[in-house]
C-alpha cells in the first residue's frame, strides 16, 4: 500500500504555507501581536494595580446588578477565598487573558454570525469550518500561534480566540434565523432597510441566544487560557501546569479551585447579563 501510494506530504505543505505567511505578512502579524498584547496588558494593569478589596467589592456589586443575591454572595466568598489562598494576582492575569480573548471572539464572532444568518452560501462555508475549529484538539492551535507570534500571552490569546469563537458565531446565526418570519415580514412591510431590520428587530430578538453563545465562548476561552500556559501565558494555568509537572497535589488543587471559582463566576455573570436585559425589555 505505502509503496503504491506514497504518503501525501501534508505536514510539509502546512509548514511551507505557514512559513510563506510569516515571510510575506510578517508586518500584519506584528500589528496584531501589538494590539492583542497591549489589550491584555491594559486589563492586567487595571486588575493588578487596583487594590484587591476594591475589585472584590466592584465584582460583587456587578454580580448583584446582573444576577441575584446568591450570585453576589458567591462572588464575594469566592474572590475572598482566592485572595486568601494567594492566587489573586494570577487570577487577575487569567481574567485579563479571558476577557481579551472573549472580547475578540465577540467583535469577530457576532458580525460573522450576522453574515452567516443573512447569506446561506456564507453559512454553508462557515459551518464546516467551525466544526473543524472545534473538533481539532485545542493545543494544536498553539503550534502555528507560536510560530507566528512566539511564546507568551499573544499566541495564547489567539489560540483561545480560535477555539472559543465558534459558539458565538453559531448562536448569533441561529438567534437571527430564529426570529419569527412574521416579524421579519412586518419589518419589511413597513419599509425598513436591511440595517434597520437588523438593529431594530433581529438583533434585539436574537439577544438572548447571542448572549448564550458569548457565555459559551467565554467559558471555552477560560479553558484554553489554562492550556495556553504551556506556551508561556501567565496566570492560574501556569500554576496548575507547574504543580502537575512537579506532582504537587496540594498546590494543584488550590490553583485548580481558583480556576473553578473563576469559571463559575464568569458563567453566572455572563449568563445573567443576557437574561436580565431580556426581562427588562419584555
Amino acid at each position: 500500500m505505502s509503496e503504491l501510494f506514497p504518503k501525501l506530504p501534508l505536514d510539509r505543505w502546512v509548514e511551507r504555507l505557514v512559513q510563506y505567511l510569516d515571510e510575506h505578512f510578517g508586518l500584519v502579524f506584528d500589528v496584531i501581536s501589538a494590539g492583542i498584547g497591549s489589550t491584555v496588558d491594559l486589563f492586567s494593569l487595571i486588575f493588578t494595580s487596583l487594590p484587591d478589596w476594591l475589585l472584590i467589592i466592584g465584582f460583587t456589586l456587578l454580580a448583584y446588578k446582573v444576577g441575584r443575591l446568591r450570585v453576589a454572595l458567591f462572588t464575594l466568598v469566592g474572590l475572598l477565598l482566592i485572595a486568601n489562598l494567594g492566587y489573586w494576582e494570577h487570577s487577575m492575569e487569567t481574567l485579563a487573558l479571558v476577557l481579551t480573548a472573549g472580547l475578540i471572539s465577540i467583535v469577530i464572532g457576532v458580525p460573522a454570525g450576522i453574515w452567516c444568518a443573512r447569506n446561506d452560501s456564507v453559512r454553508n462555508v462557515v459551518t464546516p469550518l467551525l466544526d473543524f475549529m472545534q473538533t481539532m484538539p485545542a493545543f494544536v492551535y498553539l503550534i502555528p500561534a507560536i510560530f507566528f507570534f512566539g511564546l507568551g500571552k499573544v499566541p495564547g490569546v489567539i489560540a483561545s480566540v480560535i477555539f472559543a469563537m465558534p459558539p458565538t458565531i453559531r448562536l448569533t446565526n441561529l438567534g437571527i434565523r430564529q426570529v419569527p418570519k412574521e416579524l421579519i415580514e412586518a419589518s419589511d412591510a413597513f419599509g425598513s432597510t436591511s440595517w434597520q431590520k437588523l438593529f431594530k428587530v433581529q438583533l434585539p430578538l436574537a439577544k438572548t441566544t447571542i448572549m448564550a453563545g458569548v457565555n459559551q465562548s467565554i467559558m471555552l476561552a477560560l479553558s484554553m487560557v489554562v492550556i495556553a500556559s504551556m506556551i508561556g501565558a501567565k496566570g492560574l494555568g501556569a500554576d496548575v501546569y507547574r504543580a502537575v509537572t512537579q506532582i504537587n497535589i496540594g498546590t494543584g488543587f488550590e490553583a485548580g479551585l481558583a480556576i473553578v471559582i473563576m469559571a463559575i463566576l464568569l458563567d453566572r455573570i455572563t449568563q445573567n447579563m443576557g437574561k436580565k436585559k431580556n426581562v427588562q425589555e419584555g
Binding site: 412574521e182 415580514e185 412586518a186 413597513f190 419599509g191 431594530k200 430578538l205 419584555g282
Partner: protein, 409 residues
Amino acid sequence: MPKIKVENLTKIFGRQPHRAFDYLKQGRSKQDIFKETGLTVGVNQVSFEVEAGEIFVIMGLSGSGKSTLVRLINRLIEPTAGRILIDGEDIVGMNAEQLQQVRRKKLGMVFQKFALFPHRTVLENVEFGLEVQNIPKKEREEKAKNALALVGLSGWENSMPDQLSGGMQQRVGLARALANDPDVLLMDEAFSALDPLIRKDMQDELLELQTTMQKTILFITHDLDEALKIGDRIALMKDGAIVQIGTPEEILTNPANEYVEKFVEDVDRSKVLAAEHVMKRAETITLDKGPRVALQLMKDRGVSSLYVVDKKKRLIGVVKADAVNAASREAKTLEDVMDREVPTVSANTLLNEMFDLVAFSDIPVAVTGEQNRLLGVVVKGAVLGGLAGKVNRKTPSDAEEERQVMAGE
C-alpha cells in the same frame, strides 16, 4: 385611475418556475402541475382593479393563495410574472429603495397573528413605520398616539404587547398600519385569530373607521360571512386563480359556477339579502279609479289589497278588499276608504331587519325608493324563499312573467 391594478399576476413556488407557464396556459390543474413538475402554483394569472376608497375582499379556502396574493402586492413575495400598479406605478420593476418608499408611504399591513414586536412597547410598535423613516421622535410619538386613539387604545402606550388581549393586540396592529397614514391597507386574515364576538366588534369598528378614513382596503378572509359584511366587492379564489369577482349580492345571487354556489350555500343570507332581492311586483291602482274597478282588479290578480299610487308611482296608501267592498255599497271613493298607514321598507333594508314587520303585517310590505316611489312588495313567503336561495336574478319590473300571488291573506 384605479388605486391598485393587478394584471396577470402569477406566483409559482419552486426551482425554475417558468416550467409551469405552459401548463398554466393549457389550463392544467394545480394538482397536475405539482405532480408533473414539483412546482406549487401560489397565484395563477390573477387580474383585478381596486378603486380608491373601496374595500376589496379576497376570499377562499385555506391554501387557495390569498396570503401569497396579498404579499405580492407589497412584494414581500416576488412575483413570477405579471404587473402590479399602485397609482399607476408598476412596483414590480422598482429597485429596493423605491419599493421601500412605496411601502412606507402608501402600503400599511395588518397580519393574522398580529406580528407585533415583542421587545417594543405598544407605542414603540405603532411608531415603527415612522421610525424607519427617521421622523423626529416627538412627531412620531404624536402620530402614534393619534393612531392608538383611533383604535380606542389611549392609555396603553407603555404596555408590552403580551400584556394585551388578542383583540387589543390586533388594534395595535391596526394602529401601527394607520400611523403612517397610508392610502392602502393590506389586511391578511386580520380578524381570523380573534374570538367571534371580538371579531364582530372589530369588523364594525373597521367599517366605522372606514367611513371617515376612506382607505383602499385589501381584506383577506376565509370567512364568507365576514367577506359579505365588509366587502364592497369580493374576489373568490380557488387554487390560486380568481373564480369570480362581484358585489356580495352578485356573488350570492349570481354564482359564476358550481364552486361558488357551493361556497355560498350555507351563508346567512338574511344578513346580505335586501328587500330588493326578494320583492315582487306590486299591484297598484290610482285614485281616479272607482271601487268597482278596484274590486275587479283584485279578482283578476287574486289579491286582497292594492297599493294606491299617483301618476309618478309615488306611494299614497293601500286599499283592502273589505273596505273597497263597503265603499262600493255605500258609494264612497277609494280615497275615503284608503289606509294611509302602510308598512314600508327601503330597497336596501336587509332581510334580518324586516322579519318582524313582514311577519306581523296583514298586507304585503311596500318597498319604496327615491321620492317614495313604489318599487315592489315583499310577501311573507318571499322572505323565506330568499333565505332558501330563491332570489330575483332581475329586477321585478322586468319580470312580468314572475307576477304571482301578491297577498298572503
